[in-house]
């Protein structure tokens, strides 16, 4: 088949993407650089306002925390799943996938029930006399963190299970026969080999938290805005297209930068400069 035909087959997709993704993006981003001439004022203004910078900082901070605790809890869990007997593995994978495939509104709503003023935690602590009046858990950064962690932990686990399954079990045994106890063998051998999976999982969790809308909207409230809720507020509630577009570009750039950084970390940790077998 000729080149021409194959481009013809690709054409509908290319046209649709160009027209309804690239063109719309350009049409909202371009005005942020144009004000009678090319200018970066919109961005300078954004970064001069501490309120804006605070939201960007909070977004990145929360994403980083969520990624780190997802690694912390995801790695042992995925390792356990990958080494479980087959029938158990199926069940555990289903239990991991189930929350992932459940609507994010439902999953955030679950935490409203737990963290709210009349939620389970407050009820429990009041009943046990630990506190005398409800404490504020909902609409805090903590709520966003725990909600996002809940949202993205399955993503981390699933990215890692495959990686662990691909590591030859004899490698772990070899380390043990050489005198490493379980923990040492895991840290010295299994962990370094799982880095590609950790990186993939981290990219997904970090960018996921960075751009998630539902969780900060439902659990963060107006005082704990993140970039995505901030964009929505500017665009739909305030009608400030200029600011919304500035936020949009910053979000895109941050996402791409994060991917770049993670890939650089991966390349640095993987001394052989190639993927593990």
């Amino acid at each position: 088949m000729s080149k021409k035909t194959s481009y013809l087959i690709l054409a509908p997709g290319l046209v649709l993407l160009l027209f309804f993704l690239i063109l719309p993006l350009v049409s909202v981003i371009w005005p942020t650089f144009y004000d009678g001439g090319v200018t970066f004022n919109a961005y300078l203004e954004f970064f001069q306002d501490m309120y804006n910078v605070g939201i960007l900082y909070r977004t990145i901070k929360i994403s980083l925390i969520v990624t780190l605790i997802s690694i912390l809890f995801g790695v042992p869990t995925a390792y356990f799943i990958a080494n479980s007997p087959k029938k158990w593995r199926g069940l555990l994978m289903s239990l991991t996938l189930f929350p992932l495939l459940t609507n994010s509104v439902v999953r955030s709503f679950a935490w409203i029930n737990i963290l709210g003023r009349t939620g389970i935690i407050n009820n429990l602590m009041l009943a046990s006399g630990l506190i005398s009046e409800p404490i504020t858990l909902l609409y805090t950064e903590f709520a966003i963190i725990i909600g996002s962690f809940y949202l993205f932990l399955p993503v981390m686990i699933i990215s890692l299970v495959g990686t662990f399954e691909n590591i030859d079990t004899e490698i772990m045994e070899a380390a043990e026969t050489l005198g490493a106890n379980r923990l040492t063998a895991f840290i010295k051998v299994i962990l370094p080999l799982s880095i590609p999976g950790v990186i993939i999982g981290s990219i997904l969790v970090f960018t996921g938290t960075l751009t998630a809308y539902t969780t900060p909207q439902l659990l963060g409230g107006n005082r704990n805005m993140m970039m995505s809720t901030f964009l929505y507020q500017n665009a739909m509630a305030l009608g400030d297209w200029q600011s919304a577009s500035v936020i949009a570009l910053i979000m895109i750039v941050t996402t791409l930068l994060v991917m770049k950084v993670f890939n650089m970390i991966a390349a640095k940790l993987d001394k052989r400069g190639e993927k593990y077998a």
């Binding site: 030859d168 004899e170 490698i171 045994e173 070899a174 380390a175 043990e176 026969t177 050489l178 005198g179 490493a180 106890n181 379980r182 040492t184 063998a185 010295k188 051998v189 370094p192 080999l193 993987d270 001394k271 052989r272 190639e274 593990y276 077998a277």
Partner: protein
């Protein structure tokens, strides 16, 4: 008490079926013992029990008088070479070999010295800074061996270490393993399903079947005097026929023909067996009166240096290998002579 002792080892994964059934094995210091058997016979399980990778349900395992049954794998100080080599892909050859020493908290200089010595011995000195992926199969095999030996283990365990190599390399490597083993005088256990490999390398062989050791002896004894029908079949005896004791050293086959034997047998041993190459094929009605039976050639196959005949006889179909110049063709009437010396009862 021997250097290595396995006493009544029982292993079961589901509590019902035993992978190993009250297995006993004693290994003397400096010996290389092979565990030989078909897949699923329990040989790898036995090795893994010794390594500490499997805890037996019952029984005791000791080395040098110390009971190690409950000692975890990482405290046993045995070197093990895995079938897949199990090299650490993220570490260089030097780091792979030094892994065990580093865990033993040896000084950097000592580690470097010992590792380089071992790489020298195994002919890997030029590859010290490469990664496992950049080596050939034979080289990886040597790394695995070097890594197991550098920790100066009490026991060297080898789990089918040659099965991933091509035929020629396999023969070189097994010679090399034997040389290194003898030079270091290290007690070794070698798992294999290849009898030629096993006989060439071992001081003693344990032939295993369905979780028990059928025979444990030197390669020569096992080759010439298999104790059970399973062992005989596994090492190349192909002719089997029932015998009844009629007189001292004399047995009768099903059709009444008599066979004398040069050896003394237990009363439980009632099946005669002989290798195809140990039967002599003669023209019709020649040969002595005893130990000879008539037959008809059914199939002749050319094997290169000899012919194989499938001969129909009153005691069943017998396979004969013969390199004599006189050949027989299908339909020829012949006599088969089974020597007193070579006839084995199992």
């Amino acid at each position: 008490m021997s250097f290595v002792d396995l006493e009544d080892i029982r292993v079961s994964y589901d509590g019902k079926n035993n992978i190993l059934k009250d297995l006993n094995l004693s290994i003397e210091k400096g010996e290389l013992v092979s565990l030989l058997g078909p897949s699923g016979c329990g040989k790898t399980t036995t090795l893994r029990v010794i390594a500490g990778l499997i805890e037996p349900n019952d029984g005791a395992f000791s080395v040098d008088g110390a009971n190690l049954t409950k000692v975890p794998v990482h405290k046993r100080n045995f070197g093990m070479v895995f079938q897949s080599y199990a090299l650490f892909p993220h570490l260089t050859i030097k780091e792979n070999v030094g892994f065990g020493l580093k865990l033993r908290k040896e000084s950097k200089e000592t580690i470097h010295k010992k590792v380089m010595e071992m790489l020298e011995v195994t002919g890997l000195a030029d590859y010290a800074d490469r990664y496992p992926k950049q080596l050939s199969g034979g080289q990886r095999q040597r790394v695995a061996l070097a890594r197991a030996l550098v920790i100066e283990p009490k026991l060297l365990l080898l789990d089918e270490p040659l099965s991933n190599l091509d035929a020629k390399l396999r023969i070189n490597m097994r010679l090399e393993i034997k040389k290194i083993q003898q030079r270091l005088g290290i007690t070794s256990v070698f798992v294999t399903h290849d009898q030629e490999e096993c006989f060439s390398i071992s001081d003693k062989v344990a032939v295993m079947n369905q979780g028990v050791i059928e025979q444990f002896d030197t390669p020569e004894v096992i080759y010439n005097h298999p104790k059970t029908e399973f062992v005989a079949r596994f090492i190349g005896f192909e002719n089997f026929f029932d015998l009844t004791l009629v007189d001292d050293h004399t047995y009768a086959a099903g059709d009444g023909s008599l066979f004398k034997t040069a050896h003394t047998w237990e009363t439980t041993q009632k099946v005669g067996t002989i290798r195809p190459e140990d039967i002599t094929i003669l023209s019709k009605q020649s040969g002595p009166a005893v130990n000879t039976i008539p037959g008809t050639v059914k199939v002749r196959t050319f094997l290169g240096k000899s012919y194989q005949y499938e001969v129909e006889t009153p005691i069943g179909k017998l396979l004969v290998q013969d390199s004599d110049e006189t050949t027989y063709t299908s339909g020829d009437e012949v006599s088969l002579y089974i020597s007193e010396e070579k006839l084995i009862l199992v």
